[in-house]
């Protein structure tokens, strides 16, 4: 049975602490470069701060983690890559980026409506000796290629190897959880198999509370959000960029 991995993020539980961002960077050997800025940095997972646009005591704020939504249908980035460096893994529904084949044309970045793709503007580098702290399961990307969230594919790979060693065909769901979901201190980020009707995350994704960003584009993203706060939902579901005065982050 093929899986369709996805996430449900409860925005009401997100405190915007940023644990997921650092856990993600650490798991995936994302460098932290002194030259990088908020516009050129590498944040495969990015928590953005949004507000209701009001001032004074009526102002409210919330945090929306943004990462690759692993679009299911007509995946914008897969379609545009000239050399098949992006593809949807049929067995998992994960949109995979192959840095070894990427030409760095950045067409996929312009195609992604979520701005969830990042370009390696610099050579990755670490202070002397720190390369010993790199995660052995993940290859470091070279300068000039695009990268993004692959739902911690190295963890999936490890889980598959473990299952294979045990002579099983399918992985134990307990063995595979992306670093962000694992790190989230409030359990706001929840990861699961959307193809499994009994999976609690799958159930949550199908609940009326769940919504997706830019759902009307028709790309069937597998990144769901939920919030009970009316303004958060209204903001997230409005396709007009009318809140562009909002401080974004």
């Amino acid at each position: 049975m093929s899986a369709r991995y996805g996430m449900v993020i409860d925005l009401d539980r997100c405190t915007g602490c940023g644990s997921c961002m650092i856990a993600c960077a650490s798991e995936n050997n994302v460098p932290s470069l002194p030259q990088a800025t908020a516009r050129t940095g590498l944040t495969p997972l990015l928590v953005r701060k949004v507000s209701n646009g009001e001032d004074g005591e009526r102002r409210r704020a919330a945090f929306i983690p943004i990462m690759c939504a692993h679009c299911e249908h007509d995946t914008p980035c897969v379609k545009v890559c000239p050399q098949q460096a992006v593809e949807v893994d049929k067995a998992t529904g994960i949109v995979m980026q192959m840095p070894q084949r990427c030409l760095g044309c950045r067409y996929c970045m312009t195609a992604c409506p979520y701005h969830a793709r990042y370009f390696n503007w610099w050579d990755p580098a670490w202070p002397k000796g720190m390369e010993k702290s790199l995660n052995p399961g993940v290859a470091v990307r070279m300068r000039g290629v695009v990268e993004k969230c692959n739902l911690c594919h190295a963890r999936l790979h490890a889980a598959e190897e473990k299952a294979a060693a045990a002579g099983k065909r399918e992985i134990d769901p307990a063995d595979y959880e992306p670093a962000c979901a694992e790190a989230c201190p409030t359990g706001a980020i929840r990861f699961g198999n959307l193809a499994d009707p009994d999976d609690p995350v799958s159930k949550e994704a199908r609940s009326p509370e769940a919504f997706r960003l830019l759902a009307e584009l028709g790309t069937e993203p597998k990144l769901y959000y939920k919030s009970k706060e009316a303004w958060v939902r209204a903001l997230a579901e409005s396709n007009s960029a009318r809140n562009s005065e909002v401080q974004h982050g």
Binding site: Q35, T37, R39, T40, G41, R48, V50, I64, I66, D74, P76, K79, V80, C81, P82, Q83, Q84, A85, R101, C102, L103, G104, C105, R106, Y107, M109, T110, A111, C112, P113, Y114, H115, Y118, F119, N120, W121, W122, M142, R143, G144, V145, V146, L213, L214, E216, L217, G218, T219, L235, A236, E237, S238, N239, S240, A241, R242, N243, S244, V246, H248
Partner: protein
Amino acid sequence: MASSTLMDARWIARGEERAPLSRFLLWLAPWIVLLAIGVYAAGLCLYYGLNQTNMDNRFAFGLWIFLDLGIIALGAGAFFTGFLVYILGRTELKPILNTAVVVGFICYSGAVSILMIDVGQPLRAWFTFWHPNTHSMLTEVTFCISCYLLVLSLEYIPLLLRNRQLKQLPSFFVFEHQLHKLVPVLAAVGTLLSFFHQGSLGGLYGVLRGRPFAFRTGFLIWPSTFFLFILSAIASGPSFLILITATVEKVTGKKLVADRVFRRLGYISGLLLALYVAAKSIDTLVWLNFTSRSEGFAPWQFYSHKPFGTPILFAEIVVLGLLPACLLIPETTRRRRWILLCAAAMACSGVLLNRFVLTVQTLALPTLPFDDFLQYRPSWQEIASFGGVIAYGVILYSLSYRYLPLFAAPKEGDPPHVSGH
């Protein structure tokens, strides 16, 4: 100096009058400086990577893509003139053909070299040929542009081999002649390729479902921008040839091409422009009323960010589209050279504006409801590389004009030429 002047004269077609070498070099000097700076900037980008530019994760395409799309549109004159002359048999345009080939070659080679800097891993550019994704517009662009650049080179080679020194090699000369005989084949292939990649360049943005400002529905796999780009390119190409030739005439002080050729080009440009404006208007209406709304976006919000308001849309369609078309089509306005030139310049600007809007405005506009409208200012390296390509074009055209028979007309019993003072 004297001997270098003599060396230089040996390469200039016999009997052609060209500026003295010193003046020619003086003319080239600033362009060479510009080119050198551009090459240095491009070198920086290749050596240190694209961090030398001011592009970023959201403004992933910048000035360079605008340049590519712009000059490829203007370079469309090459294939379109070839198409008119060889396929449709409009031989009256033959005098402009050589210049069209050189301009086309400059535009395409310039665009390809900028593309090579613009990608993060130029050494892997050939992967597109090895693992092509046939669904990607960029694959189509890559295949067609590289093939068409080859075609343009093959069309340029005969011209090159007609240089006074090179044609003294019988083997070159005969090859040139044999190749020249096959140019109609190349023109036909070039037409096919150009139609496709001009369209694909339009499709490049039209297929971006995630960018509702650029996304268009269309016919089969091609969004409407595919067809609009072809139309606008072949409309602006002849106008650009008019501008180039008129500029060369102005600079050299010589009458190179008959006025009727200019007028014919202007008429073709005007007709196609009118067609383009009509198509573009329909497309804009469809997008405003259906496409954008179907993706859940109120289209007018895209024009709420200064300076990208509706005046740009008006300028693109009316001021720089409909107006030049109206000036180019009637014989009375077209006859006046200054009107012809102004209208040609407006047509080219309109198409450039269209490319600018599609590349830069698309990326500047927010998609997520909490995105900002983004500003981007190119770095000096980007501008210098841009300038380098312009300088490369000017230099290559100047050299071609000086040493190759761009506007060679058959010699009629001309009076003995006296010179030497």
